[in-house]
Subunit: 420 residues, 2 copies
């Protein structure tokens, strides 16, 4: 580990010079305190200090993005933005995700030297690969378990989000499984609620999945939301596996990256990683974390699938940002850590072509809620329309044209086409 | 649990009316999807829907705080702010912190209906108390273990933050323990690093603590930073306890609230909760979480001590906000959940009077890094000056006047007094 370093790249905004801001970041997160203390030798600093690797100036602005920056009497009224890369010696914290976070994020967001700070990328050394084995299934394992090849893994989210009794859910799941869907996930609002405990849900859902599989020859993958406290998650996982389930789902920000890494230690099925609450960490443009950085930690911690929002979604995020997220998930990390990006929110057959263009691959999971469940001819036609949307995309045929020969797609366009 | 509800209070900003925004929040986090789906019956909505409890209009602004809000052609150019309270039926998720988070935060931060959203408070029903036992030591337990009564628990943070070898740390700790300090914590940057593994650190520190205790008759509380992955944390905790240690420390945002709750299941010593990374969730005024809400979850999950920043700190936060945080920690939660607020950053004897005024109590932990370690007459005088600062505060004697009779305080004022 000697000599190995983590590189953290920040988007920074400061009333100071970018050089002063960079030094403040490096000092705060390694050897600094507000007044020099005994024992802070030159040798210690040499061995443990964070180092500013590069500074790339960007634009200047007239107002601070965040409150509380300290401004001197001589301040010229400008706030300077730039990209700042800082490297940290690995021996300061070792290959530990939680301690990495304290080092590269830590108190930085609160510094008065900054009027904006966002962690935009992380470069991690090999030592992390030895500590965190990462996804056990990834793209190939998910295709093997679903039997879905040569197209995205297509599926839906249980709707209504909340409130179906296990017997009602069972009917819905069997219908969708018989319709040929590859995948269904619980809603993130619905894990192990008192009104429909997971024990009952797993039993009801797996009976439906198995019954449909006997008829169709393919076993639908149902991602049971097992989000919970640490011990509960283990019990939930074991319950799903014992019933023959082939996936579990967690809200990563609810259980933490340590919760995800712990689940990945014993998981026997793919882990479907939901990113609800993510907006809190990213919607303020000069604060928080960029998905590019965060997804690396999710993959290290073992997310086989990772939500990335969708193009033209109901959320605030731009299509450019969604595209960056999909591409980020596909870039190899430490030689592997394959995850399947999960595209969802306001998706339907018609979002396939743009999604294919954005992703540049079929190795994604494409989920439609209403886009499948509320298809005018029922969910089987909804699923069919999604497949047709991707066929058209891959063959480069305009959707309207492809729909002339395919009624499920035509009917989907009639219903959802005017939406945007 | 029937009939019990969680109430979440938000500070919201929207280009819509506050009523429309409130309905969007309630819908997104309970029964909504972008298009009506079969099974969304009136009965289901009645039983599971989130309900808008009140709307309190605040000011209007001319520009959105966050990007990506959708604005109609008829928009009047105004963004309305208000407080919105929404209640959620407990049977939707049960008394589970991780699933509570998915419900009250979830996708809300990403909604295009909002140009700002911040969770400012949570009201939790009794069911949470049955599930989460909370701090095992709290204020009384911490006083018992440190023997510090009738004043704040006073201590310091190991500095330099990073880089001391175990033998160097041992010398420092023994010196500070002999000086009479109640408490020392590891820096948050320093947990179980390869350059000084926790096994060696615990051995070296506890030898120093025990040696000093033999001489002084009081055992210093050293909070070892055991932040790590789930299994590692347990091993680290057991190591500390086996060596006779009396506290462990974790970076709560590194291990997650589930990690904290898990640690609290087996912990045998107080848990010192550090909030590094917190700025990420709170510095953008119209995004994230207010400390008032978050500290409740930390206390439920078991934080015996909880960092709240300090008055006149080196960070961006206003004194009003720090005062609110201290007071929030002191408000009873579900009839208990006592935690000791930890005040730190740029603290010294001179910050005692204002801190006492803000807290209105002595039941706090007051930590000074340089303010003790770099005192011109050494750390014993630094510690003495802190006690004197609090004596002056409690007696209502101006600091300068009290310092006339007390040289340790006088010397502290000479060194640190001009700092602000």
């Amino acid at each position: 580990m000697n000599g190995e370093r983590v590189i953290a790249v920040y988007l920074a905004e400061t009333p100071l010079s970018l050089e002063q801001a960079a030094d403040a970041i490096a000092g705060e997160q390694s050897t600094g305190t507000f007044t020099a203390v005994p024992g802070e030798t030159a040798e210690l600093k040499e061995k443990h200090a964070a180092v500013v690797e590069f500074i790339e100036p960007l634009e200047e602005v007239d107002a601070p993005s965040l409150p509380g920056a300290r401004v001197s009497a001589q301040h010229d009224g400008k706030y300077r933005r730039g990209r700042i890369a800082v490297s940290f010696p690995m021996h300061n914290f070792g290959p530990s995700i939680p301690n990495l976070l304290s080092a590269v994020a830590g108190n930085l967001y609160e510094m008065r030297e900054m009027s904006g700070l966002r962690l935009i990328d992380l470069e991690l050394p090999e030592a992390f690969a030895a500590r965190y084995p990462g996804p056990k299934f990834g793209i190939e394992g998910t295709r093997r378990l679903t039997g879905a090849y040569d197209r995205p893994v297509l599926g839906t989210i249980v709707k209504p989000s909340i409130g179906l009794r296990p017997d009602e859910l069972s009917v819905l799941v069997e219908k969708l499984a018989r319709a040929g869907l590859d995948f269904i996930k619980d809603d993130e609002l619905n894990a192990n609620p008192p009104f429909a405990p997971l024990t009952q849900k797993v039993k009801a859902v797996m009976a439906a999945v198995d019954k449909a599989a006997d008829a169709t020859g393919r076993k639908l993958m149902y991602a049971f939301n097992i989000t919970g406290d640490i011990g509960e998650m283990r019990r939930n996982h074991d319950l799903v596996v014992a019933a023959g389930g082939t996936a579990v789902m967690v809200s990563i920000l609810s259980i933490g990256l340590t919760g995800l890494a712990e689940l990945n230690r014993y998981s026997e099925v793919p882990i479907h990683g939901h990113r609800n609450q993510w907006g809190m960490l990213t919607r303020s443009p000069m604060l928080g974390i960029e998905f590019t950085a965060w997804q690396k930690l999710c993959r290290l911690a073992g997310a086989d699938h990772l939500h990335v929002n969708g193009l033209n979604s109901k959320f605030y995020e731009s299509n450019e940002s969604v595209t960056r997220s999909i591409r980020a998930c596909m870039a190899p990390l430490l030689g592997g850590y394959e995850t399947m990006p999960v595209i969802s929110s306001m998706q339907w057959a018609g979002t396939a072509p743009a999604t294919y263009e954005a992703a540049g691959t079929l190795d994604v999971m494409h989920l439609a809620g209403g886009g499948i469940l509320a298809h005018p001819d029922g969910p089987a036609a909804g699923f069919e329309s999604m497949k047709l949307g991707w066929e058209a995309a891959v063959q480069g045929i305009p959707l309207e044209q492809y729909a002339e020969r395919h009624s499920a797609l035509k009917r989907a366009i009639e219903k959802y086409g005017g939406r945007e």
